[in-house]
Amino acid sequence: MNPNSAPNPAMGHNNVPKMTARDVNVFYGQKQAIRNVSIDVTSDNVTAFIGPSGCGKSTFLRCLNRMNDTVDGARVEGRIELDAQDIYAPAMDVVQLRARVGMVFQKPNPFPKSIYENVAYGPRIHGLAQAKADMDNIVESALRRAGLWEEVKDRLGESGTAMSGGQQQRLCIARAIAVDPEVILMDEPCSALDPIATARIEELIDELRGRYAIVIVTHNMQQAARVSQKTAFFHLGTLVEYDDTSAIFTNPRETRTKDYITGRYG
């Protein structure tokens, strides 16, 4: 990996794909969950994966930072690249990959630690802060970017699990941001939240756009339309259609996409 080729996220607006996937197949034991998916993800966009439950969109998302490695019996074929580097190559370091490609889960999963320690967890294991002051800075900036700072600045020592669901999810986003990743994967981040908390997270995703490449899995089409610029429609483990969000929702090419969007199934 050449440090010069690592794009500065602040630069944004380039058309070089941040991540590319080519002919990806995923198997759980004998069962094939993903068939021949090829897709490019760019830095300056929020990319949404939509599709009915069980269509493989979450499975595919978990391939992008190799979280499928933690599932017994999962096997990934094909090629997935981050900045033109094969992430499944033996030379690729999973620890480093996951630091660069962060993830936010469906259910908020703060660690049973204080708010401060939750955010400091990543920088600490990766050794990103030398002194206490550095760590304080990182924690503060991550919480500010996640829009949580004003709410929690006086109770950083309290347990992260004692917050409301929406706050917990924003804490998890802050936790992901604190490592300063290049890509953030979000696996239905609002499905466990109420509408107000959902709106707050959607605003946050919009604010983070441009700084990080964001991929969000959602089964809520309105949400995809609201937050994303690109949308991929998955069905039965295949990528049916991938285009600008506006195009997908106004003028889908495939009938299956159209049927799904108009609510025929899903």
């Binding site: 930072n65 979280m67 933690t70 017994d72 019996g73 999973v94 620890v95 480093q96 990959l97 996951r98 630091a99 962060g102 993830m103 889960f105 259910k107 999963n109 703060p110 660690f111 049973p112 630690k113 967890y121 990543g122 294991i125 990766h126 998890c172 936790r175 992901a176 490592v179």
Partner: protein, 464 residues
């Protein structure tokens, strides 16, 4: 034996009652034209109802007689003697009656107490009469109950509901046995302990540093009344069960559980779990034999190598080590449960940050599972301090207050066994002290268990 025949007879008569009741109900069904609802309950229920009415009082009577009968007979036999020559209740009387019984059954060819041959025929006669009386009463009760039941069989009699109510009572009675057992334990321990504490003050027992329950031969010897300071026993119990054994079991059990839950292939896990369960089923006497025959000599050799010439053959270390090995499967399975109860999302969250598995385990999983692990360890401690055979076979009887693992210490359970086997003297402080030790042990494990179960329960609820 006679009692057994009586039981069998009562059961057979109850069977007859069942047949009679069912027969009568069957005839009613036929008389009612075999329509559904003509007779409320099916004939089997009528039969069963009648059998229960016949059986229950008779069985209760016989069971009661089986328990108190011997005492009643003894009382009657003793009452036939002139008041002056009656033996005092307690040891003398028990010994005398044992000889009398021995003479009657023929187990004892010759009695030592001259009274015994005199009493033997009286005993036989009284026992014969009273047993017969009890049997006759039982049969009478049975017949009365049965007849009453028979008379109640009518088409509209709700026999099924009655039988089911009786079954519910039976279920309830079975459940109450657990309470009775608990109370039985508490009462028998407290009762005997009170007798002990009349002879030895509780303060001395709980705080005294010297333990030598053997009564001395000469009155001027030190501790001629025996010394009952149990602190060295408590220390030995904690030293072996809670310190040495846990020093072995906690790291090995916890690391095994971590490896099995986080690293091992599913196939290895599939094999190791039943193997661990099988190991948990190895009898403690086997571990004790292993400790005494194999481990203890090795530990002694080690001590000699380290320069302790007079190293003890029954060291605390040998017993503690083997007890630790015995507890490993238990700690491992408790830790396994606690770790698997941590939501997978927690683990994934950490891994997705780029943490390695060991960082995830150390910084997220174990802290999150800590209450469950601590609860499991407390249960393991409770099991270790109550464990008997390993320490009986491998630990010593010398009550030393030492922290040297190569020295010999003794434990509460070892002493209970030592005090209650061999030649027992009734009502001596020596024998009764075993019950006081049992009471302390019971309280210790009870507190540990209640606390540990509460911790584990709260922990499980936190993640449900």
């Amino acid at each position: 034996m006679r009692l057994l025949i009586a039981f069998a007879m009562v059961l057979a008569l109850a069977g007859l009652a069942y047949l009679a009741g069912r027969g009568r109900a069957n005839r009613l069904v036929l008389a009612g034209g075999n329509r559904i609802g003509a007779v409320h309950s099916r004939p089997v229920y009528h039969g069963a109802y009648m059998a229960v009415l016949a059986l229950a009082p008779a069985l209760l009577l016989l069971a009661g007689w089986a328990i108190v009968g011997e005492n009643v007979i003894e009382g009657q036999v003793v009452a036939t003697m002139p008041a002056a020559s009656q033996p005092a209740p307690g040891n003398d009387r028990v010994a005398l009656m044992n000889e009398v019984r021995g003479l009657v059954t023929g187990d004892l060819p010759q009695a030592f107490n001259p009274l015994a041959p005199v009493l033997a025929p009286r005993y036989a006669a009284i026992k014969n009469n009273l047993d017969l009386l009890a049997g006759a009463l039982a049969v009478a009760l049975l017949c009365l109950g049965g007849l009453w039941g028979y008379s109640r069989i009518r088409p509209d009699f709700r026999a099924r509901n009655r039988v089911e109510a009786q079954v519910r009572v039976l279920l309830l009675v079975a459940s109450v046995v657990a309470i009775i057992t608990t109370f039985g334990i508490v009462l028998s321990l407290i009762f005997e302990s009170i007798r002990f504490f009349r002879m030895v003050s509780p303060v001395e027992f709980l705080t005294g540093l010297a333990w030598s329950p053997q009564t001395a031969l000469r009155a001027d010897q030190v501790g001629s009344t025996g010394a009952f300071g149990a602190v060295p026993l408590f220390w030995g119990t904690i030293f072996i069960g809670a310190i040495i054994a846990m020093a072995v079991a906690i790291p090995l059990g916890l690391m095994s559980a971590i490896y099995l839950t986080q690293y091992a292939q599913p196939s290895l896990r599939k094999w190791m779990k039943p193997v661990l369960e099988l190991l948990a089923g190895v009898p403690t006497v086997v571990y004790g034999f292993f400790a005494a025959l194999t481990v203890a000599p090795l530990v002694r050799q080690l001590a000699v190598m380290l320069g302790m010439v007079d190293a003890s053959a029954d060291s605390a270390l040998a017993a503690g080590l083997v007890m630790g090995v015995m507890i490993i499967p238990f700690v491992s399975s408790m830790a396994d449960d606690a770790l698997t109860a941590v939501p997978r999302a927690m683990r994934d969250g950490s891994l997705a940050m780029g943490a390695t598995m060991s960082e995830t385990v150390k910084k997220v999983m174990v802290p999150a599972a800590l209450p469950g692990i601590i609860g499991g360890v407390l249960l393991a401690v409770s099991r270790a301090i109550g464990e008997t055979m390993i320490v009986v076979m491998a630990a010593g009887l010398a009550a030393n207050l030492t922290a040297n693992p190569f020295a010999s210490v003794t434990t509460v359970t070892t002493q209970i066994v030592a005090l209650l086997t061999g030649d027992q003297e009734f009502d001596s402080a020596k024998t009764l002290s075993a019950f006081a030790l049992g009471l302390v042990l019971f309280m210790m494990t009870l507190v540990l268990n209640i606390y540990a179960l509460a911790v584990v329960k709260r922990y499980r609820e936190a993640y449900e």
